[in-house]
Point group: C2
Chain length 755, copies 2
């Protein structure tokens, strides 16, 4: 443990004058004095000139040359090479190792056994055009990690996306999945939700296939002629119940280091309880074509040239899966540039390095940008730049199975992160198009400022201007009038989750995308050949990502006052409260209406005797909820945010000491920590953030103010009422923190500078 | 010409006391005195017991035994048999013959000539299960009637549904159809719109195919295993520009009788100006698969297992079509039961008898219900029932090509209809499910009253109760609170068009449907086998239709005061005015927003250089329109309707003479005539109704207050302003007529009965 930065004595030279807008000058830089801003801008300009597309291309070629999943030889080889690269840039680079449960397949059998026989191929063929596609000996077979072992033969039922609403439709059609194997298509939720919900409804096995309408010829020309999923392509992926907790299932809350106390596998609640397997649309077609029973509703029908039916009829399927459940090693690459002024304040950047197979797009397209950022920062250090705060560049291992590398590292270092964590900036895959930002809304204004400084390579406008135009054209008129573009809230799906939702580190996740699409996700075709033919082929968006992310890192690392702003956070929270009220009211109205229709016998009247359906089930009427605690907390946060921003704006008139600002920064960097719920979320205490969580029944998709929102969705009104109180308390902690920060800022403005 | 019924001296015995609600009694019957209602109800009850499903089944078998399109031997045979049947029921039945232009194919060639060769089959194979499917010698080949002759070879472009908005999308993608052959899928508009819009954009040929997602295996099991369109099934159909005028293209406005003045074919503006051909999805697949060019937008993609592209690329198509343009005979069957009291008031019922091939569903499923109605009325006459007004049962020929039989008859008899027309009731195909009603909104209350008296065969509830439940379950809450269920407005697509929209006869169109679906429309598979396996197989909905339609006919024929009610009409018109205001405002806002985005350069900013698109074109800002004339006319009609209804309700206190009521009825039956526009609609004077017309660019789909609505849609603001005035004048004529009718009713209530 290093000493807390609060004890560090600041050199007298660090006198600060915070910015006042000077006409004709650069716009003020949030977090910097006018003088500091000038220096910062000069270094940032130098920084942004360094990243080179050609180097990214070469690094991608190297890192995606062989399959590099957790436990593979090339995963370790990449980690060691990455460590050496980060070291060569001037970073203090090490590898931190963890040993985690990561199952790999031993047996995979899928057969239709009646009314006809068909054995699924379960193989992605090599393509002569794609030179890395033939590395069969090193490729992980197609499978879902953390499926249960199993050997089941059962009727097959088509469940659409396999989300809870789909089971209501099945029930209305009189179809149960009890004792059946379900077949779901990818989409509509994160994949792990599908077997979890199937299990809750009594299924004994699950198949997940890529439907060609969403992800195949229906979406565009297939690989290798085009970028989309070919008929035998399969989306591998984890089905660990990550909405309960991510990371090694045997070591929740602690780092999976040697000697760590591990659960018995049978006690690890996140491991899927039925066998589940992903398949291609070529393998799915004979299974789906064998189904009889009611016609699938029109929104359930995909792109295969068959009539989609619900089943089950005579179609029976045999699914046999067995896995090697041994522990595998993880290699996190951790590269540090020590802070010159606040070495115990950590500004952290991460992108994973493991892939499901060759993983050129996912994750190497982000990793190569991260490398170029680090190299450029190293160049700046050689030219004399010294970041005030410690910069940590991480290349995570094991993101694909369960955010393993980041989660174990955060769990291992959680006390340090509580004391030192200032900012976490995540990337993952990158492509061409619009700049996307999601994360802590206290960083919304900061993200907007940076976006105005990054040039879009296709239009030469700022990426902010392009974002804005894109939203306006898509019908979002607020994008024209609101000075800051809104950023999204974070659910899950990448390594930001443990930082933001478990440790409370202010977090952003950024990347470019939207212009290219494709269907090689988690397949052997996510390759250097694919990426360099169908995505950011010239790596100019890789450069733009390095410029954007590196600028964010520098600006936080060097800031005199951390760039958080709380007005947008408060406005966003108020918006969420409004959504919850609307959700309660619309749910109450829907219950009331359905109960009325049931009492009127409307479903019996509309029933078609040739295709009979069951009436839906009624519910108890919804009580009115007391939202006053949230409303009052929201008002308090509004007031605090306004006071903070006023103090922030009047700072230049004073001459605050660096020491007084350090106290302000100590508070600011805790602004997500105080939003954590002491006992975490209902059903899943690992998730602590009161505002953001992945949905328990959606997976990656975010639920904002999740405690209340999901309680309303589940019609658990008592829980909703209790969670309103807990979120309100978190918002009051936030408003208290912001008020204290504002008071310190006010004092600082009237303080005399240190002589 | 017969004398006007105004001169008829009423027998003194016809003393009328109009209804007062008696608790515990039958509900009052609109249009009848209490005594009259009792008698009417007794006759109606007797009537509804007569129609027999077994007879309908047998009649369908007979009428669909061989192909019976216009000009075919079996079309004439059916007409003669129908005439004899109606005569055997006691009707005075004749055949009225017209000679019309109806082209039939001589040459049909469709080939892909590059990059590969493929010759389209253009044939529907016979199926061993379906005994009428092998009558190839008598079947009309697959074609679009009133296509131009042509022999063109040109690049192919996919235009989605081929409606105007689709061409905006093509333009944004930089694709022109000038000199090209377009391929459009069925759906999104009436088929004739597709070649018309293609021609307007410079295309030289058009193909229309049935996409399997909408109409094939994607919608359900295909024939003969299920009811949906098999791969070689083709939807024949007319492409005459019927939104300009229906009927014989050579004799607009006049009956196509021998010696009628005929246009030269080249001057007949409704004949399509390019060659156009319908094809199956089996024939379409190789053509669509040959297209290159930009990916089709996701909403344009259908159910074929290919990647949908816009074209054109190297795909070139050869289309050669030649037709026999000789005149063909039409045989309308006209069967009359003379009115006992008002022989010169006509209550008309129609359903066509011609089909594209065997036409079991379309139109025989409706025709057999009509026959059973007529037979039942004949039975009643034998038992002593005498309809007050003349009842005319018509079996129209030539509906399929262009509403030929009904249009020529209406044009031939238009002066008589002006003087005698009281009501036209249309049916066409019939199926299982909900009762559907569309038509004159002055008949909305009447239609609701009848629907409460007809029993749904599947639920034993009234068809009104089932309709209501269906709407409530579909989210239409007004259906629960409004005493009358709304009826739809009529566009086109069946024989009601000339009656309502040209002659101004108050009209309803009714039928059952919604529970069965299928894909045999206008193919050789619309057969007795298909209907008796997949639709109203036991003909219980055929019986329900006969009961509903026959009850309507009896009730109008016997009414003491015609059942029109004007409050619902007025409320409906007010609703349309509201929609027009919303349309003007949303169009104005869209223009303003688009112009702003153009001036901001937003489209350049969001453009993807790898898939460049053109910015859409801006428009001049929309002026504010003066809706005051419509609002004032609406207020006047409201007032008149309320006065009429009050007079109607207080009638029982008086003892009106039949003569005074005859004057009221004379006004009431003109209530759609006064809504006709003296000069008809812009661009298409044949269509005269101010409230209802088929859309100029949608075909069957209705445009309400079409003059204003279409002018706004076309951004022709000057025309919109002028049309507001014309529709307002029509509504003022209506309010004047209703006021006069109310005044007569008021006088009638205080008049002494004729001694």
């Amino acid at each position: 443990m290093q000493p807390s930065f609060r004890a560090v004595v600041l050199p007298a030279a660090l006198l600060l004058v915070l910015p006042a807008a000077v006409p004709g000058d650069d716009p003020p830089l949030r977090g910097f004095t006018t003088a500091g801003a000038k220096i910062e801008r000069e270094w940032e300009t130098k920084f942004r000139a360094v990243p080179e597309p050609a180097r990214m291309r070469e690094a991608m070629r190297r890192l995606s040359l062989r399959p590099h999943h957790v436990g593979s030889p090339y995963d370790k080889d990449n980690a060691e090479w990455l460590r050496a690269q980060y070291a060569s840039y001037g970073f203090d680079a090490t590898i931190e190792r963890y040993d985690v449960l990561f199952p790999t397949p031993i047996t995979r059998v899928l057969e239709l056994v009646s009314p006809t026989r068909f054995t699924a191929k379960l193989e992605e063929p090599a393509l002569k055009e794609d030179p890395t596609s033939d590395q069969k000996n090193e490729q992980l077979p197609t499978y879902n990690a953390y499926s249960a072992d199993g050997d089941v033969t059962a009727p097959l039922v088509y469940v659409n996306y396999g989300i809870p609403a789909d089971y209501e439709t099945l029930e209305r059609n009189g179809i149960s999945v009890k004792g059946a194997i379900v077949i779901a298509r990818y989409g509509g939720s994160w994949r792990g939700i599908k077997p979890k919900v199937a299990y809750e409804h009594g299924a004994v096995g699950a198949l997940i296939y890529s439907d060609p309408r969403d992800d195949g010829f229906g979406a565009g020309e297939t690989y290798p002629a085009g970028p989309f999923r070919p008929k035998d392509g399969v989306q591998r992926g984890s089905v660990l119940d990550m909405p309960t907790y991510p990371g090694d299932p045997l070591t929740p809350d602690i780092g999976a280091v040697p000697g760590a106390k591990r659960l018995d596998r049978k006690d690890a609640i996140t491991i899927m309880k039925l066998p589940v397997m992903p398949i291609s649309y070529a393998d799915a077609q004979p299974l789906l074509a064998a189904l009889t029973g009611p016609l699938a509703p029109s929104s359930w029908r995909g792109g295969l040239p068959i009539t989609y039916r619900l089943g089950p009829g005579a179609a029976r399927v045999h699914l046999k899966l067995a896995f090697d459940w041994s522990l595998k090693p993880l290699y996190d690459v951790i590269a540090k540039l020590p802070g010159s002024t606040f070495p115990n304040e950590w500004v952290i950047r991460g992108n994973h390095h493991d892939g499901w197979v060759n993983g050129a797009e996912d994750p190497i397209s982000g990793q190569v940008a991260e490398m170029e950022e680090a190299r450029a920062l190293g160049e700046l250090v050689k030219q004399g730049w010294k970041p005030k705060r410690t910069i940590i560049y991480a290349a995570w291992d094991g993101e694909e199975p369960a955010l393993l590398g980041s989660t174990e590292w955060v769990e291992q270092h959680q006390e340090e992160l509580r004391q030192k964590g200032v900012f976490y900036l995540n990337t993952d895959s990158n492509g061409r198009g619009m700049f996307g930002v999601e994360g802590s809304h206290s960083l919304e204004r900061f993200a907007n400022e940076v976006a105005r400084d990054i040039i879009d390579p296709e239009t030469n406008a700022s990426v902010a201007a392009r974002q804005r135009a894109s939203r306006v054209v898509d019908g979002n008129k607020e994008a024209r009038t609101r000075s800051d573009l809104r950023i999204g809230a974070l659910g899950s799906g990448s390594d930001f989750t443990p930082f933001l939702q478990h440790a409370g580190v202010p977090t952003l996740n950024v990347g470019f995308g939207g212009e290219d699409d494709g269907g090689i996700y988690h397949s052997i075709y996510d390759s250097f050949y694919w990426y360099t033919h169908f995505s950011d082929t010239s790596f100019v968006y890789g450069r733009a990502l390095a410029q954007a992310a590196g600028t964010m890192m520098m600006r936080v690392a060097d800031a005199d006052v951390l760039p958080e702003e709380f007005g947008n956070l408060s406005e966003t929270a108020r918006g969420y409260i409004g959504e919850l009220k609307v959700l309660r009211d619309s749910t109450a109205r829907a219950i009331e209406e359905l109960n009325r229709e049931l009492s009127e016998g409307a479903f019996a009247l509309v029933n078609d005797p040739r295709r009979p359906t069951m009436a839906p089930k009624g519910s108890a009427p919804a009580p009115v909820l007391n939202f006053a605690p949230l409303d009052n907390a929201s008002i308090a946060l509004d007031t605090a945010a306004a006071r903070f921003e006023k103090a922030y704006g009047s700072l230049p008139a004073g001459a605050p000491s660096a020491a007084s600002l350090a106290q302000v920064n100590t508070l600011i960097r805790q602004s997500d920590q105080v939003l954590l719920l002491p006992d975490g979320l209902p059903r899943r205490p690992w998730y602590r953030h009161s505002l953001y969580a992945p949905g328990y029944y959606t997976g990656y998709g975010v639920k904002t103010m999740p405690g209340v929102r999901e309680a309303i969705e589940q019609k658990d009104w008592k829980l909703a009422e209790a969670e309103i109180g807990r979120i309100a308390a978190a918002l009051l902690r936030e408003s208290d923190l912001v008020t204290r920060a504002a008071a310190l800022l006010e004092q600082a403005t009237s303080a005399k500078p240190i002589p």
